[in-house]
Every structure is written in structure tokens, then in C-alpha cells.
Symmetry: C2
Subunit: 174 residues, 2 copies
DNA sequence: GAGCCCATGTAATAAGTTACATGATTGT
DNA sequence: ACAATCATGTAACTTATTACATGGGCTC
């Protein structure tokens, strides 16, 4: 039930069509949550049926612009305040690293090096988002920057860890 | 197809029953991947049927000890060397933070404070794992420590970020 | 014999991915 | 006219969660 709330949150910021939301998932939210086109349209249908969002206008090409309803906003707030437990982590990348003893040390180092590269790419991507977004002093901008900063710090941590790890693998096995 | 490889990897380290593996998911792998009991037994059945693992002995209470086969080990290595793309991040916690502008600043700060606490708890948990595990100089110990270190750095980053974020929310809105 | 752990399995549901399928509008 | 982008939807499949269901063995 998380995509549900991601959609409600985006529509609470500003109304939009499925297509619009998809773009927002790919850019500002890329750091945070993702959705496929298929899943998104399905969820919009369900949310409308349950009255949490509504169609506010129809445009060309069957475009339907959705907006959050009062009920939807109430649901969003309830979700934000509800007691939560951090979900158990699930990282395919870390899983591979955990088992890297199964392959030759050279290959293991190479894997970690690629990991470092992708951390750098992510850092670059986040930096470009930071530049392209027009940060005002609205609530969403404040928290958007918080989340962006989280991503930057995360990418930096990954980079540093990877450098350290490559060295560690070298000294452990040559 | 990731649980599949998590199971293969664990059985490559040492044979075990479903129950054993479940324990290992909850302890050493807690940082990395998780599985429910239900999912695990299902996957063990499928892996056995496809010949990637086999039952090596049966014990009391219907206990079945599984071991990885040659074919299974080959599959594990292929997976480790296969080209990969980092999966799109999906963090319910960050998602909530992203939308925290919907609730009162006091509540937002409180949320971030709880986040910091859970980062500390994670750090403590990882430290206790580090102490309780008997690290030899095997491959799996080398990479196990790498992954554990990743977790420690991650927890530290979250803690620092949260402190900074609380301050940021305070100055932005009082 | 009571309680705790060991041990496995099934069924129903929810969530997410990939592929398929279609078509209108806009800008050049 | 052509290409790019806008725009929505369905079907089949895989993955993961929650709840149900059962029972043996060990220790005190």
C-alpha cells in the first residue's frame, strides 16, 4: 500500500495526469520510489473508485487530470502519522557482494569498482536534479531538499566504502 | 529471482535445512536480504525440482538438510558475474519524509527523530553481530565483514543526516 | 506433562514487472 | 508526411506477505 500513498502525496503537491505523475516518479522521486506505467494507471483507477482522488478535467488524447480529495488528504496524513517500523533491507547489490567469495578476487574487485562507478553516476544525477529544480521555500521544497541531501550523502558513503573495500579485498587475497 | 540466489549462496557456504536458513536470514543476512518462512520453503522446493540443490540427509521432525549441487554453484557464479544495473531505490521511509510537509512541523521533527533512533538501533544490532560472529579468514568472512561495514557506515550516515535534518526543519519553519 | 523450540507446508491475497495493444496531437 | 511525444489501458506472470494448519522432539 505504498504506491497508493506515493500517488496521493504527489497529487497533494499538485494535480496531474497519469502521464505527468510518471514523469515525476522518474525525476524528483527517482531517489525515493519508482512505479511502472502499468502499475500507476491501475492504482489511479483504484484510488478514484475509492474516492481518494478525482478527475478534475479531461484533455486531448483521453488525458484525465486527477486531484486529491479531502478524504485522500486525510488518508495521506493518517499514513504519515501512523506508527511505522523500518522495513527489512533488501539490496540485491549487497547480496551479490556478500557472496563474492564464490568468484575470483579479480572479478570481485572489478564488481566493487563498478559499484563505485554507479555511485558516482547517482551522485551526478542528483547534482543535476538539484540544479534543475527551482527550489522555492514551500514545504515540499524543504522536504524535497532533505531527501535529495540524503541521496547525496548516501552516494558519497557508497563511494568511500567501495574504495575501502577494493583495498580490503586486495590485502586479503592478493 | 533474487531469493533464489540468496538461498543458493547460503547453501554454498554451508548446507542446512529451511529452518536453518531462516535463522541465517534473520541474523547474518538481516542487513542484506530477508525472506518469510513461507516464501523460503516454496523456493527450496522449486530449487530442488530444478536440480540446483538436493536433500543430503533427513533428520527428526521431517527435517530435510539441503546442499547446493554442482549445477547450483554454476548458476550462482553466473549470476554473480552477469551484468547488472542498480535497481531503482524504493524506500518507504524516504517517501514519508518527502511528504512530511503535509503534517505539522512538530510532527515532522518527531518523525525524523524516530528515524535517528532506529538508525542507532540498527548500528547497535550490527555491532552485536560483529562481536558474536567468529570471523575466520575464509572468503565468506572477508565479504561478510565488507557488508557489515557497509551497514555500519550506512547507519552512521543516517544518524548524521537526521540530526542535520531536524535542525533544518527547525530553521525553515520554527 | 508443560512449554519451548524445531520443522514443514498450503491458501489467499497483494504488489510489482513485462509485454502487448492502441491511438491522438504537436512540431518541423 | 513524419517523428516524437503524449496518453491510456489490459493480460499474464512473478514475487512477496499474511494467515492458517499441523505436529514432533527436547528439557525440566
Amino acid at each position: 500500500m505504498t504506491l497508493r500513498h506515493a500517488v496521493l502525496g504527489l497529487l497533494a503537491e499538485a494535480p496531474g495526469s497519469g502521464y505527468d505523475l510518471l514523469k515525476r516518479f522518474e525525476t524528483a522521486m527517482a531517489n525515493v520510489w519508482s512505479a511502472t506505467q502499468s502499475q500507476l494507471y491501475g492504482e489511479l483507477g483504484k484510488l478514484e473508485k475509492s474516492g481518494l482522488i478525482e478527475v478534475v478535467s479531461e484533455g486531448p488524447r483521453g488525458r484525465k487530470e486527477y486531484a486529491i480529495t479531502g478524504e485522500g488528504r486525510a488518508e495521506l496524513r493518517a499514513w504519515l502519522l501512523e506508527p511505522w517500523a523500518p522495513p527489512s533491507p533488501r539490496s540485491e547489490t549487497l547480496l551479490r557482494i556478500y557472496f563474492l567469495g564464490e568468484v575470483a578476487p579479480v572479478q570481485a574487485r572489478e564488481y566493487v569498482r563498478r559499484y563505485a562507478e554507479s555511485a558516482d553516476e547517482l551522485a551526478g544525477h542528483l547534482a543535476s536534479i538539484d540544479e534543475s529544480v527551482d527550489w522555492d521555500d514551500s514545504d515540499s521544497a524543504v522536504f524535497g531538499r532533505l531527501v535529495l541531501e540524503w541521496g547525496k550523502r548516501h552516494a558519497a558513503m557508497e563511494r568511500e566504502w567501495a574504495d575501502w573495500a577494493v583495498e580490503r579485498i586486495r590485502t586479503a587475497r592478493g
